[in-house]
Symmetry: C3
Subunit: 340 residues, 3 copies
Amino acid sequence: MQITLGELASQLGLKLIGDADQPVTGLNTLKDAQAGEVSFLANPSYQSQLSESRASAVIVSEDLADQVAGSALVAVNPYLSFAQASQLFNDRPKVTTGIHPTAVVAETATVAADASVAANAVIGEYCQIGAGSEIGAGAVIGDHCIIGDHCQINPNVTLYHNVVFGDRVTVHSGTVIGADGFGFAPDKGKWHKICQLGGVRIGSDVEIGSNVSIDRGALGDTVIEDDVIIDNLVQVAHNVRIGQGSALAGNAGIAGSTTIGKYCTIAGGVGISGHLDIADGVHIAAMSLISKSITEKGAYASGTAQMPMNEWRRSATRFRQLDSMAKRLQQLEKARKGEV
Amino acid sequence: MQITLGELASQLGLKLIGDADQPVTGLNTLKDAQAGEVSFLANPSYQSQLSESRASAVIVSEDLADQVAGSALVAVNPYLSFAQASQLFNDRPKVTTGIHPTAVVAETATVAADASVAANAVIGEYCQIGAGSEIGAGAVIGDHCIIGDHCQINPNVTLYHNVVFGDRVTVHSGTVIGADGFGFAPDKGKWHKICQLGGVRIGSDVEIGSNVSIDRGALGDTVIEDDVIIDNLVQVAHNVRIGQGSALAGNAGIAGSTTIGKYCTIAGGVGISGHLDIADGVHIAAMSLISKSITEKGAYASGTAQMPMNEWRRSATRFRQLDSMAKRLQQLEKARKGEV
Amino acid sequence: MQITLGELASQLGLKLIGDADQPVTGLNTLKDAQAGEVSFLANPSYQSQLSESRASAVIVSEDLADQVAGSALVAVNPYLSFAQASQLFNDRPKVTTGIHPTAVVAETATVAADASVAANAVIGEYCQIGAGSEIGAGAVIGDHCIIGDHCQINPNVTLYHNVVFGDRVTVHSGTVIGADGFGFAPDKGKWHKICQLGGVRIGSDVEIGSNVSIDRGALGDTVIEDDVIIDNLVQVAHNVRIGQGSALAGNAGIAGSTTIGKYCTIAGGVGISGHLDIADGVHIAAMSLISKSITEKGAYASGTAQMPMNEWRRSATRFRQLDSMAKRLQQLEKARKGEV
């Protein structure tokens, strides 16, 4: 891939300050970029690297354009323009259209002519695979699944039956969608399984990381709305609903029947208990436990901050005494007022 | 699936108050149920929905039967009866008995005549697959595994060698049982691998979620006793033993050689350190860290509760000063007593 | 496997105090060992079991050799010698050299003559598989991957394109290496994907557990250096670098662009935020959140210790009042000094 800065500016709709004929071959960080590469500045904390970067051009906001050592590609939202540039330099290997001879596709399934089904993939009865969609090697699609157009299901993904995708859904390897939710009725020391009769519905423009578990609903569906992004190793329990545009970072877990609003950001390792409602626009800090519904947008956290171990031990010991400390403090306050 | 309320009551062993000839076609929540559907009330907090539900019948305890708008199916344990009803309405696609032509089954393996081995599954040497058991597409069963009767091993599950299951064990996709435990002897900056010579033994009536990791023992086996249920993305390290009837929720992790007693409930995201003993009947709250053995049944927790971020920052800062605060409090108490 | 104590001592380079002709057939713990088995004492807390163990021999340090009931195998580092002994008794089934007829290997891929590619494995274009390496059943290796010598890639592992391994790398089942990092530019309620243009480089003598996710770099590579060990269900985000000899325990998660130094130990369930630098020789306690860089070696923690639920509730309530408590304490101190 080689492109001149002029062509790049044109394709990204950016103003170029510099040499339009300069060829560039890739993207890199300000720190690591070499001549012939394009970089970007989205995070102000890297601003000091602007003048020292060897990048041939930097995607930058207008107010910082004069600080760029090489050429400047002036953007309203430099990070967005960088994302668009990354699409141009994408070197992901092309997949071969059609059904690989070792794939096992049920006779009742429908696969679009320009879709691809890779080696050893298995597609169940009555499935529909949309135009331009890819089913990776070793992926297993259960019966009655509907996959929209231009979806990318990577190798060794598993979908159970009755999972429905919109368009442009990407699912990374190892992810399991539609396994049984964790529903059991206890009786006399035994757990009696509740058959999980619902399915999973996933909107359009959704990306789901690797080794994610999204369970099918018990009654009714588990729902992931449009424009949701989910990182690796995330647990989404049965009948959860995740609102449009929300993002869940790695190792997060959402327990059953909880609803996450729109445009929420759930940081890594967060746990959210079951049967809660989280309002739109809520941000949960990393590794927080949320055990009550949140009705107002804003940022929330639990836990404590990192400390050297020896100091932490002392604080942790005192945490166990906190109630007693609070009562003794009250006692002293009363004494001061002459009440005791 | 269509059944009259009279037949349903008969099959579930419940008293019907209402129209025995009314046909019903499915289950749903009190809130979402339509005419022709059956619902249930197990959680008292939904009691107010009883009178408004459009369900044709509700599975309910005797004392609330007169509050049901439609027919009532009177149950001693409504949630258990609902679980039993869910089995009747189960619409999981039937699997085809026999070995799919693309499956690779070792000549020394034994597969029961009515078992099923799906497309591209691989079964190792000397394995035994019991009556009515299912091996899903792409699942890999290592050498010398014994799978009892009526087990359900879903697609893309991996079992290493020497993994033994009882009967009626369900394992969801992406789960790995019998991989090497995390055992290494450090010496001069290198980690020297300890071969994991044990296996994994899983009892009967066990359900294991998706993307779970259960490691083989280092010496002796990792053991999951009868009637245990394990949710998604749970880590069970080498030589752990999980006692009968216990439940582990999603994202929990149990470190090596720890024993969990019988009838424990380990909530989501809990971490339990290695070489501990957890007594029978212990409940651990979500995302707690357990780093010492627990000898008495009861409920345990660690961590702090959720707060708006700005308030949390202040509390977190004070947590670091807790030991100093405690000492200053003591100083004031001494001063009051005239000791200083 | 049967060996005399004399041969065992010779192969491990240990001094034998006892019967050189005694045959032994396996390893076991001090507590469970039977006659004919060898045990070891590495953890001083098990010292009291030395005199009662039925083991025919115990690998032990010189100062404790006279407390062994049976024969003693005297070692400078008993745990290391036990690790070496475990290699001798390793009973992992041998894999068959060569490419299984159901494997799908691209014509442009190179597989060493003594490597093995198991049933239904898929190997992409231009891959290189080194001498003695094993590709397990159902594993999928993307295009342009380079696997060194004597690597062990277990069943149902997935590697995306451009993943490079050194020698003697073991990867357990369900693990996904090289999936896209979680990079998106937000704009007007949409997440715009940043193509992940880097790869993954993994050194030599690395072991990676089951159901681990290691993402490819956005720009430049995600890097795991030599001698790193990673347990199950660990998340390693894009452009993370993990330094030589470090160990990450189960359920840990490292966010994007963070660098972990050499010889660090990251305990189970730890979360480390993105763009941080962790110095060499740092130990992070289980389930801690690290949200700031650590510049000094040593042990660090966050969180609180376990408590019975009722006591925990009181402490957790007081935690929310901590800032107010601190201010009231200051007020009392001022009052005592006569300042108010």
